[in-house]
């Protein structure tokens, strides 16, 4: 893996929504009209009061302002049921429109077709494959830390959470690291289009235009991989087979479209959420610095408590009744993963706390059922290695005084994460940080 560290772009911090002035995130739940509004920065910044009220007072809620035909499901038991019943809660293309022409593969293909794609794709991101890049991933983490450790301060979002997972992903995919700014701009235009809050038509237009650019780019990548097969993951998809046949060009495009969105966004938001929490909870941070063997459990607990992908969407395929609410075919269902992952009925009285010694942690931060996140093994390795090396080298970080954190709704990414810490020494031999 190349030690080159990509630079970041301002686009990564654009946020679609504006503060609504809510004093308490729980006020975004309206039990009297059985609705709720999760897409608010105040909710993304402090979702636990929102989740608590949603689960206890309004476990099946409509989306505020849309109403009819939308259902937010928040209790662990109900979310688990929905994840495991794709024949009722379908992941079909109508569930999520993000500028694509056809269903994204494998997310928007339901069983049984879905299993054929996963059988091809899973091994390339499975635990054995991921283990082979752990050493170079650790070297990369240390190279990234070298970039700011002597300074005693950093914007952890821009200098670590973005470049580290993006470098891992682009290297794995055989995509050029020096084009990372373009990939991030496309990814953000689709996930967080920079349009006025609530302007769905403008958002759809940005996504459609970005989708054209993505398809065009990957047409070129596929041509290249057909002519020059490599060992990268995209080459393996291009030359892979299902049912004894090669994938069609459209199928490969439909894989790549989703692959780049998944690969470039969610580890960034998980690192942001995890490190922001640890920076504000020094006793937990110290525990990781003093007992590195706690890191794997901490990764799971931070994933659970912060569930960076707050919710995922499904569409009702066959009429279904849940807690007295009838869901009709075509209705949109929002599975509030973050609320399920902090449900005391599953996680007990400490559901809203980070407990690194929790015995059973069956969270759904990576979803569940047949569509379990394809990248979860890679993400877990990246998070573990990042937390191990960070706490070995920078054990005493905290938020820069006066910092007010701004989280994007939906997928909880920070605009910036300013940290201060005792300066340390570089370990690598890479280029020195340019003098300011």
């Amino acid at each position: 893996m190349s030690p080159t560290r990509p630079t970041t772009t301002e686009e990564t911090s654009t946020v679609q929504t504006q503060p609504s002035g809510l004093a308490d995130p729980a006020d975004a739940v309206h039990p009297e009209r059985r609705s709720a509004m999760p897409y608010l920065p105040e909710v993304a910044a402090d979702p636990l009061p929102f989740y608590d009220r949603l689960r206890s007072e309004c476990p099946i809620a409509a989306v505020d302002g849309i109403g009819e035909g939308t259902h937010i499901i928040s209790r662990y038991e109900d979310v688990k049921f929905a994840l495991r019943h794709p024949e009722i809660f379908s992941s079909d293309i109508v569930a999520v429109d993000i500028g694509q022409d056809r269903p994204l593969i494998p997310l928007q293909i339901d069983p049984p077709e879905h299993a054929k794609y996963r059988r091809l794709m899973d091994p390339h991101l499975g635990p054995k494959e991921v283990a082979t890049i752990e050493d170079e991933t650790r070297a990369l983490v240390n190279d990234v830390i070298d970039g700011f450790i002597e300074r005693g301060s950093c914007d952890f979002h821009a200098e670590f959470s973005v470049p580290f997972p993006c470098t891992v992903f682009l290297t794995l995919s055989g995509l050029p690291l020096d084009e990372v700014a373009q990939f991030l701009a496309w990814k953000d235009a689709i996930i967080r289009p920079d349009v006025p809050f609530g302007d769905h038509a403008a958002a759809a237009e940005v996504r459609r235009a970005t989708g054209r650019a993505l398809y065009g780019y990957f047409e070129g990548v596929i041509d290249d991989r057909l002519a020059n097969p490599g060992d990268d993951v995209i080459s393996r998809f291009v030359h892979g087979e299902i049912d004894g046949r090669r994938l069609s060009r459209e199928e490969i495009l439909d894989i790549c479209y989703l692959f780049i969105l998944g690969g470039l966004d969610t580890v960034t938001s998980t690192l942001d959420c995890s490190i922001a929490y640890l920076a504000q909870h020094p006793e937990r941070r110290r525990a990781l610095a003093e007992q590195p063997e706690l890191v794997p459990a901490a990764v799971e607990e931070l994933l659970r408590l912060h569930t960076p992908v707050m919710q995922i969407l499904r569409v009702v395929a066959t009429e279904h009744e849940m807690r007295g609410v009838t869901m009709r075919p075509g209705d949109t269902v929002m599975l509030m993963l973050g609320a399920a992952d902090t449900d005391p009925d599953e996680f007990g009285p400490t559901a809203n706390e980070a407990d690194f010694s929790r015995d059973a942690n069956r969270h759904f931060a990576f979803g569940g059922g047949p569509h379990r996140c394809l990248g979860s093994h890679l993400a877990r390795m990246e998070l573990r290695v990042a937390l191990e090396e960070l706490h070995r080298r920078i054990p005493d970080y905290e938020l820069r005084p006066g910092t007010r954190l701004s989280y994007s709704p939906g997928i909880r990414e920070l605009a910036e994460l300013p940290l201060v810490f005792s300066p340390g020494t570089r370990e690598g031999t890479g280029p020195q940080e340019a003098p300011a």
Partner: protein
Amino acid sequence: MRVVLDEGACVGHGRCYAVAPEVYAADDRGHCVVRNAEVPAGLEHQARTGAANCPEGALVIEP
């Protein structure tokens, strides 16, 4: 003690072999493989912990 894996329910979260690697292993896709259906003496706690961490409830412990 026996471990019974519901292969249809396993989707490859990989929690079992992460927390209980002497009882569970991964296949190439990351799905669970039970090393010995009859849990060897001394590994009962691992077997239970692995099963308790499966988000799909795909592992059942039989006494």
